[in-house]
Amino acid sequence: MYGDTSIQKPIKIAEPTSAEQARLEEIFQQKIDDDIKIEPQEWMPAAYRKTLVRQMSQHAHSEVIGMQPEGNWLTRAPTLRRKVILLAKIQDEGGHGLYIYSAAETLGTSRAEMIEQLQNGKAKYSSIFNYPALTWADMGTIGWLVDGAAITNQVALSRGSYGPYSRAMIRICKEESFHQRQGYELLLTLSKGTKEQKEMLQESVNRFWWPSLMMFGPNDANSPHSAQSMKWKIKKKSNDQLRQEFIDATVPQAEFLGITLPDPDLKWNEERGHYDYGAIDWEEFGNVINGNGPCNKQRIANHIKAHEDGAWVREAAAAYAEKQQKKQVA
């Protein structure tokens, strides 16, 4: 759902109210069609701006909430090497959230507003982060599958039409390759370990496979406002296209790990040149997105607590800055 907001109520596309507006819209669409990026101060349709603000804020929230399942394992990392890797990865995710918040702010929304909407539930974040990280193997699986799915999505988003978002995506994709590789390497280590470690690996992948596929959002047939996003090049590939790309890239990696993926219908289709896969449980997806996943309440409660616990720091820094400014004037 990084690139997909179709689970929420649609954003109304207003008809142009004047000849002047119709002309502006035409120029705007021409730029998009010519692959000219749109920059912050330029004219854009209200619905384009709104769609982007929604998608980017949710993307940023996903990065920030995504720090929680991993933070849970920092103190239990088995070696110092794994611990510094995990720390660096979590710090990246915080950074990625900030790149995207910063890009979203160029559209006229404020940081405070976005955080508020996350905390009051008005804004969503990726459904995947509402699943718990129960075992150490999950640290590998999250890197391999969750970051792998995120990269598939973000590579497409980096070619999107809005300049600041596209630039943030390019930075993020460069950094995120490390996330996926460290995860896969962690799993490879487990795959060569004891019987218990191999079982832990398989069990973790069993839990994360389907939720990872859900990250791409509903099937194209049920993604009604994707068409407009594609026309505006906010979205470059459809949910099902991206999901297929991810599956095709991932199945051979699973084979190399010597594990199975929990889908009896998963098999190579020679004719299509792609893997076929089984039906996704969209009811589960809907439940998790709408607040009833295993960890939704905990994730938001943690975010609110961290935000409130940090309030005194923000206040103190603001007071200090004010005092320094007065000194300078005096």
Binding site: E39, L98, Q119, A168, A317, A321
Partner: protein
């Protein structure tokens, strides 16, 4: 209104980074910070985790004056038809040597 929106937001700073000696500082994003010193430190944490830079500028966003997109034609189009400002406009015979 909830607490967050009434709380005064830290000002926004634009971040420019020199990636290596000899190159220009280049804009890369923004950070919120209460003062210049914290803006520098945050910019370092957010934008240079992989030795992307050797020097950072932070500038209060509201101190930047930008040209307007609608002035693009009047500002930049006059340069388009002055092709004689480019070296390729001039034919120099090969015999004259490298120039």
């Amino acid at each position: 209104m909830t607490k967050q929106t009434t709380e005064k937001e830290w000002p926004l700073w634009e971040v420019f980074i020199r990636s290596k000696a000899g190159l220009d500082h280049k804009h890369c994003g923004s950070v919120h910070a209460s003062d210049a010193e914290i803006a520098l430190e945050s910019a370092r944490d957010v934008y240079t985790r992989r030795s992307e830079g050797i020097s950072i500028w932070v500038v209060p966003s509201n101190a930047i004056t930008a040209s307007k997109p609608e002035d693009k034609e009047s500002l930049f189009e006059p340069a388009d038809d002055k092709i004689y400002r480019h070296p390729t406009f001039y034919d120099i015979p090969k015999g004259a040597g490298k120039m």
